[in-house]
C-alpha cells in the first residue's frame, strides 16, 4: 500500500511556498468572522490549492443519517459540490473512519481507491492527501487535496499544513451546523409557543364582577394536558368541567384539545353530569389509542341556590369547605377513554355559605422543599389555610402564591366555586 500515515523527510527543493503561519492566521480569521460558511470555505480551499501546489481540493462533510460524506465546497477543474461518497469506502472514507491523515502518492496502487469521483467527472486522480475534520464530537468531515503539480510528492510539510488548516475549518463547520440546529430549535420553540397560545385560548376568559367560578392553571411545560371550562346555560345555571390527560407530550396535548371540545359541546345541552360524562366517554373510547385516558369532572352549579351536582371520573377528591370544616367527595367514576360502557354516578351538595375546590393531581403531586409530596392531606391543609379570606379572588391569589413555593412537576389546575 502506498498510503502513508507516518512522517517522511521533508523535501528541500521547494520554491515560493507561502508562509504557512500567515496562511493559517488569515484563514482562521476569515472562517471565524464568516457568516456565509460555503463562500468562505470555497475561498479557504482556493488558498489551500495554492499553498499545497495541487490541482484541486475539497471539503466533505459527514451526513450521519444517510452514512455518506457529501462535498460541501470544492476548488479545481471540475465542480464536485453535492457529490456523495460512502463514509466507509475509498481513501476519503478511510480518512474519516481512521481519523488520521492519509498520503497516497499513486492512487492506482492503493487498494481502497475507488475512483468514484473520477468516474463521474472524468478527472484523473493520481495522488491525494486527506485529513479528517475533528471536533470534540469526533470526525465530522474530511479535507482533501489531489494531484500534486509537476509530479512532486506530498511531504511532511504538506501534511502538517493541511492538518493545521483542518482545525479552523472543522470549527467553522461545527459552528455552522450548531447555528443551523439553533435555528431549527427556535422554529420548534415558536411552534410550541403557538400551540400553547392556542390551548390557552381554549380556556374560558376570567369573568369580571361576582361570577362564582374562578380557576388557576399552570402548565408544567409549553403545552398542557390539563384544561377547564365553564359557561352559562340558558336557564341561568353554570356548567363547569375539568380534565387531566395522562401524559405530558404532544399526544396528551392533542387529546386534551379533543376532550375539551367534546366536553364543551356535549355540556351545552345542559344534560345531567352523569349522562354528560358517559357521552364524552363513549366518544373518546372510539378512536383513542390504547393507554391514553382522561381524568375528568363535569358538573352544574346554580348560582341562585348554591345547588351543585357533578360527576367525577378519576380526578382527585373534590373538597367542600365552610365555617364548620371540610367535606371530601371521592371520585365515583373511572377515567374517560378506557371502557365505553361505564357509569359516572353524580354527587350533590349545596354551596350556600360554602366553597367547592376541584383540582388536578398536579396539586396533590406538588413537592415541598424537602422533596415530600403534598398528597390529599397537604392539599386540603393548603386550601384550608386560605379559607378565612372572604373575597374569592384574593383567596385564589394566596393559594397561587403558596403553590408557587412548591415544586410543580405536573400540569396544575384548580377551580374554586363560591356559593351564594
Amino acid at each position: 500500500m502506498n498510503s502513508v500515515a507516518c512522517p517522511r523527510p521533508a523535501e528541500s527543493a521547494r520554491t515560493a511556498r507561502p508562509d504557512p503561519l500567515a496562511l493559517i492566521a488569515e484563514l482562521s480569521q476569515s472562517l471565524a468572522l464568516s457568516l456565509n460558511l460555503e463562500a468562505t470555505l470555497k475561498l479557504a480551499i482556493s488558498r489551500i490549492v495554492g499553498a499545497l501546489d495541487v490541482e484541486a481540493a475539497s471539503v466533505f462533510m459527514a451526513d450521519e443519517e444517510s452514512g455518506v460524506l457529501r462535498c460541501l465546497a470544492a476548488f479545481g477543474p471540475v465542480d464536485i459540490v453535492g457529490l456523495e461518497l460512502p463514509a466507509n469506502q475509498g481513501i476519503v472514507g478511510r480518512t474519516f473512519q481512521s481519523r488520521s491523515c492519509q498520503m497516497v502518492d499513486n492512487t492506482a496502487e492503493d487498494p481502497d481507491f475507488t475512483g468514484a469521483i473520477d468516474k463521474v467527472t472524468g478527472f484523473r486522480t493520481r495522488s491525494m492527501i486527506s485529513t479528517p475534520l475533528l471536533t470534540a464530537q469526533g470526525a465530522i468531515g474530511v479535507l482533501q487535496a489531489v494531484n500534486k503539480r509537476d509530479l512532486q510528492r506530498f511531504d511532511l510539510e504538506d501534511r502538517n499544513l493541511l492538518r493545521a488548516l483542518a482545525s479552523p475549518l472543522a470549527l467553522a463547520a461545527a459552528n455552522a451546523s450548531l447555528a443551523a440546529s439553533l435555528v431549527e430549535q427556535s422554529r420548534i420553540k415558536r411552534e410550541l409557543e403557538l400551540a400553547r397560545r392556542m390551548q390557552r385560548n381554549l380556556l374560558p376568559r376570567r369573568r369580571r364582577g361576582d361570577f362564582p367560578i374562578l380557576a388557576l392553571h399552570r402548565p408544567a411545560r409549553e403545552i398542557s394536558g390539563d384544561f377547564y371550562e365553564y359557561f352559562e346555560l340558558a336557564d341561568g345555571r353554570i356548567a363547569f368541567a375539568m380534565g387531566d390527560v395522562a401524559g405530558k407530550g404532544l399526544d396528551a396535548a392533542f387529546l386534551m384539545v379533543r376532550c375539551a371540545s367534546l366536553l364543551r359541546w356535549t355540556g351545552k345541552e345542559g344534560q345531567r353530569p352523569s349522562e354528560w360524562l358517559a357521552r364524552v366517554n363513549r366518544e373518546l373510547c372510539d378512536g383513542v389509542q390504547h393507554g391514553s385516558f382522561v381524568c375528568a369532572l363535569a358538573g352544574i352549579h346554580d348560582p341562585r341556590t348554591g345547588e351543585t351536582c357533578w360527576a367525577n371520573a378519576g380526578l382527585p377528591s373534590v373538597l367542600r369547605m365552610d365555617a364548620d370544616g371540610v367535606q371530601r367527595f371521592r371520585a365515583e367514576g373511572p377515567p374517560l377513554g378506557i371502557l365505553p360502557e361505564m357509569d359516572f354516578p353524580e354527587q350533590h351538595t349545596c354551596l350556600a355559605g360554602a366553597s367547592l375546590y376541584l383540582f388536578s393531581d398536579g396539586v396533590t403531586d406538588a413537592r415541598r422543599p424537602d422533596g415530600s409530596m403534598l398528597g390529599m392531606e397537604g392539599a386540603e391543609a393548603l386550601l384550608q389555610a386560605g379559607h378565612e379570606i372572604r373575597r374569592p379572588q384574593s383567596r385564589l391569589r394566596v393559594i397561587a402564591s403558596r403553590l408557587r413555593q412548591l415544586e410543580l412537576g405536573d400540569d396544575t389546575t384548580l377551580m374554586l366555586i363560591e356559593g351564594p
Binding site: 395522562a246 393507554g291 371521592r330 373511572p334 377515567p335 378506557i338
Partner: protein, 105 residues
C-alpha cells in the same frame, strides 16, 4: 428498591412481578414487558406488591395492557398491589376498570 420485572408461571397464568418505583423514567420498560408478554400466554397477571410508587405513566402502561388483553378476551389481573399502588388505583376509581386480586387461586 431495585427496579425489575421477573416472570413466572402459575397454571395458565404468566405472572410479571414488578418491583421498585414506576415513574416516567421506567414506565416504558413496564409497558414493553406487558405488551410483549401478552401474545405468549392465555392469561397475564401483574404483581405489584413490591411497587413502592406508581405515577400516571405507569398506570397508563397497565391500562394499555388491560385494553390489549380485553380486545383478545384474555384475562388480565393486577395482583396484590402495595398500599400506595392500591391508593392510586382506588382514588382514580381504576378499581372499577381493573380486576384486582390478592392471589391467583
Amino acid at each position: 428498591m431495585e427496579r425489575g420485572i421477573a416472570e413466572s408461571r402459575q397454571g395458565d397464568w404468566l405472572v410479571l412481578s414488578v418491583s421498585g418505583e414506576v415513574d416516567l423514567s421506567w414506565s416504558q420498560t413496564l409497558r414493553t414487558a406487558v405488551l410483549k408478554a401478552l401474545p405468549g400466554t392465555p392469561a397475564l397477571a401483574v404483581r405489584l406488591d413490591q411497587v413502592a410508587y406508581i405515577d400516571s405513566s405507569g398506570i397508563a402502561a397497565l391500562v394499555e395492557g388491560f385494553q390489549q388483553a380485553r380486545s383478545r378476551n384474555q384475562p388480565f389481573v393486577l395482583l396484590a398491589p402495595s398500599p400506595s399502588v392500591r391508593a392510586v388505583l382506588e382514588l382514580a376509581r381504576l378499581d372499577r376498570v381493573f380486576q384486582i386480586r390478592e392471589q391467583l387461586d
